[in-house]
Each structure stands twice: as C-alpha cells, then as structure tokens.
Amino acid sequence: MDLFNNLIFGFSVALSWQNLLYCLIGVTVGTLIGVLPGIGPLGTIAILMPITYGVSPVGALIMLAGIYYGAQYGGSTTAILVNLPGETSAVVTCIDGYQMARQGRAGPALAIAALGSFFAGTVGTLLIALFGPPLAEIALKFGSPEYFSLMLMALVAAAVLAQGDMLKSLAMVVIGLLLGIVGSDVNTGIQRFSFGITELSDGIGFIVVAVGVFAIGEIIANLGDKDERRVVMDKVTNLFPSKEDLKRCIGPILRGTGIGSFFGVLPGTGPAIASFASYMVEKKLAADPSRFGRGAIEGVAGPEAANNADAQCKFIPMLTLGLPASGVMALMLGALTIQGIQPGPEVMTLRPDLFWGLIASMWIGNLMLVVLNLPMIGLWVKLLRVPYRLLFPAIMAFSAIGIYSVNNSSFEIYLTALFGIFGFVCMKLGFPPAPMLLGYVLGPMMEENLRRSMLMSGGDASVFFTRPISVAFIIATVLILIVMVAPAVRERRREIAD
C-alpha cells in the first residue's frame, strides 16, 4: 500500500516538533497578513524568505506554504467583513460573503468559509497523495495551444460571471491584458508601454494594481456615498451556521473541492479562476439563482473550498515539474533553489521527505487554521466595531507599507494612487474591477502561449481547433458566451415588443 506508507512517512516528517512549530508560525503569520489588507502572501513570503536560509529545506517550505494558505483563510475574513479581498482568490467571497455580513450573518459566513476550506484541504491532501503523479502527467501533455485556449475560457468565464454589464466586463479583461504587457517583452527584450521609466521595465506589480483598485478606489467610493457600503457595524450574533446552512453547503463544498483540485493542477490558472468557476457552477445549479449576490451561503462555501483545494494542488506542478503556477509558487521555487535543491521531476524521488512532508504539513496546518480561526472569530468580529473614519486611514497605512516593502520603491506608491483614481472612475462608469485583475495576471502567459502556438504550427491558427483538448476549451468558451448572451437577447426582444 504505497499511498498509506507515503502518507505515514509524510506525517512522521511533519510531526517533528520543529516542523510543527514552523507550520504554526507560518499559518499564524499567514492569517495575520491575510486579515491585514494591503500585505499579501507574496510580499510577506518575499520579506520572510531570508529568515528561512538557516532552516532545513522541509521546514522552510512548510513555513512558507503555511503563510500562503493561511493568508487565504485570513483573506476571506476581510473579504466577508470589510469587502476587501486580500487576494484575487477572495474576490468571489466578497460577492456573497459581504452581503451576508451586511445582513448580520458574518458569523455563519466566516464559519462556513473556514469549514469549507478545511474540508477541501483534507480532500486536497488525499488527492495529491493519490493522483499527484498521474495528474501531473496529464498536465504535462498540455502544449501551448491548450494553455492558450484554457486561459481564453477562464477569462471569458470570469468576465461573464462578473456582476453587471458583460460587455464592460470583457472590456475590463482586455484592459487587464494590456496592463500585463507593460515591461520588457520576453522574446525580444523590447520595452513596451514603459515610457522610458526604469521602474516599469519589470512590469506593474500585481499588488500595485490590486491595492490601487480594490483598496484605494473602494475607499474613495465609500467616502463619496454617505450611507452605502460602509463596514457592517451591527452586533453579530449567532456565529455558527444553522443546520439549514450546513445542508445547503454540502453540495457546494464537494463540488468546489472538485473544481479547485482540477484547476489546481493546471499551471497558469490562479485560485481566482477556481473560485470563479465554482461560483458560476453554484449559481447555475441553484434553484433560485437570484439569491446569489445577495448573501447566498453557497456562494461562500463553494468558492472557499475551491480556492483552498486549488492552493493545495498548485504544489503539484511546482514539486513535480518545477513549474511555477503562480507568483507565490515562483517564490517557493526560489526558496528551494536557495536551499540547494534543483526543482523538477526528480524532487519526488530524490527528496520524498520534502514532497510527502509538505503534503502532510498542509493537512496539519489546515487543522491549526480552523482551531486558530473559529474560536478567534470573535476577535475578527471586534474589528467591525472600529468606526470607518478610523478604519480607512489604517487600511491606507497598511496598504502603503505593503506596497513600499515589495521593492522599497516610492514610484509604486505613486502608481497605486493612480490606480486608485482609475479604479474609482471605473466603478463610477459601471466597470467591474475584478476581471481586469484576472486579465492582468494571465496576460503575459496568454501572449507567450499564443506566440509559441503560432510558431509551433507554422503560423496556422487552426492549431487551436485541431487539437482535441484545445478545441474542447474553445467550444466551452463559445458555450459560456451563448448561455450568458441568450437571456440578454431575450430581454431586449421583450423590450422591443413592449
């Protein structure tokens, strides 16, 4: 029984007291920075990386991984309580989680987010152990055309899902793709859209765009609308979900876990896509889809499970192929290299302690997070009592420190101010900001895969339609568009008829 032995071995590594301590430090720091808006796991992991030089490779990875998934627990807390996603993955949680908080149901929302994440984490651990190696082989078969089609599908789905005008959402994706171009072109080294500014030659930082649009833009909008979108200040009672809530959430959590695991093994798709996909599935399956966006607990449970499953499975391509599937994974690879370990397929056989120890630690870490988060929900709820006139300057301060700490660059602070104004204007004109962020993250990879595909096929665009997996993604994209456009067409017809 290979699986059983491997897991036992993994736990024996993860349960040593040093590794337990690293795990605890990781998830605690992760929760903290997840709750604090403006400092993401990316910045924190980068800052803390020097500390791990003296730690064993397993311990270092366990701690850094703990920050990563701990931040997702914490990030959903701020998403629910103050409508501020710490990361793209929490954007979806904002939609219904914040509405639940406004209705005085912040408690159940937080609890279901933690429980859903824990369940997904448990299943994710088992899945990695069971299917890790074979799944990695499937992902290995993907060529550039498959990746391009997959990203196209992901972006269209995300745009279509966003609340409001579909056309404007798609436009925001395109603006995001354009933002992703800024910096030097990987193939030719030509500077694009950098206007001779040195700081722009590496592109615009993810945190700059995210904090600018989501934190600063949102605060400006909040201060303009006197009584709307303020932090919920009602007393939050009944912290735990009712039986009815739990029953509603079983399906979404199971499906979210499945969706998250699937997207997790595909490099290039972030946890945001998994949670968006899960949200869309739940909305489609719901008996009454109109509840979504107005505080449907399924809209919290599914995406939260999905992004946690995704976060866990993201380690598969990183550990088995040496392929960073996200910015955080790129940092993890960096940490490995610093430790003198060559990332790649050999890691699993050469350093089984690393692979299985890390997996086991993630389950332990998830358990720690539930214990850390559920009894401490009261503490997070206390954050709600802070009046907004004090909360928003604090958010400004943490955002500024977070951005400045990435590159110690004042320029990025100015850029954030600019994105704050842009984000506010977009909101005023009815553009949803989330699709832009997704386009921005996927842009460079999409262009790279497009160019590689065309090179591969000798300049023939039919390559996207002749490869079976690629054409499946394309068909799915078209189907999504048709399904979403159809109701709009019907409505317009009715309008004309009236």
Binding site: A171, I219, A221, G224, F411
Partner: protein, 151 residues
Amino acid sequence: MKLTLANNKDVWAGLMLIAIGAGAIFVARNYPFGTALRMGPGFFPVVLGGLLIVFGLAVLAIGLRKGESMTGSWSLRALIILPLSLILFGLLMEYAGFVPAMLVLIVGSATASTEFRFLEVLLFAAGLTALSVAVFVWALGLPYPLIVGLD
C-alpha cells in the same frame, strides 16, 4: 436626474474604452508587428487595442440609444486627498523617514472623511505608527530609517 450627454454613464464609458484602445495602438505603433508565424511584440497590444475600440464603440452606441445617468457623488474631497496623501507618503519615505511618512499618511487621509476629528485622529495615528514601527521595522526587520538623520 435628467439624462444629458454630460452625465450619460455609457457614453463616457465608451469614450474611455476608445481612448485607452487608441492610446495603446498609438504607443505600440513602433513595436514590430511580426507575422502570424513569428508574432512581434506589437501584435498583442495592437489586437487588444483594436478590441477595446470595438467594445468602446458598442458601449457608446448603447449609451446614445438609451443610456443611464451616473448616480452618487464624485466624492471630490476623497478623490483628491487620498492619492495626495499616498504621494506625500512616498516622498516622505525617501526624504524624511518611516515615522513622519506614516503620521502624514494617516492624518492626511483621515481628513478625507467628513467625520474627521483632529484629536482622535492624532492619537490614533500615533498609536498606529508605534504599532507599525514595532511590527514592520523591529519585528519583520524592514530596513527603513525611522526619522532620516536621527539614528
């Protein structure tokens, strides 16, 4: 509110998209476009810029046909003060140090609220700055001088 061209949300939205799209194409005009086989660095930006113009025209057309008026205020006070405090933070981080930068950012941005109370904000800013110094500079070891020239 009566719908005029000046407060028509979709007209402005469409114009913004067209402007960004046209701007992108204009800036990218000198990047090699390449061929279908070997796409140059100009291909992606130009195609995206074109797409944006198409979207912009569609949104503009919708706006001209029916359109919606903009709602809510433009919160000019916050729109000016918040970016300005960030810029001050950036400048002070370079020339004055962490403590003055934090104090100015917190007090400055707090004035964007109509509920601004000077004494309360001052105390809050002092507390938050002290906490940030403890967490970020001392505990996490971010290499920022607290006050430039005072070490």
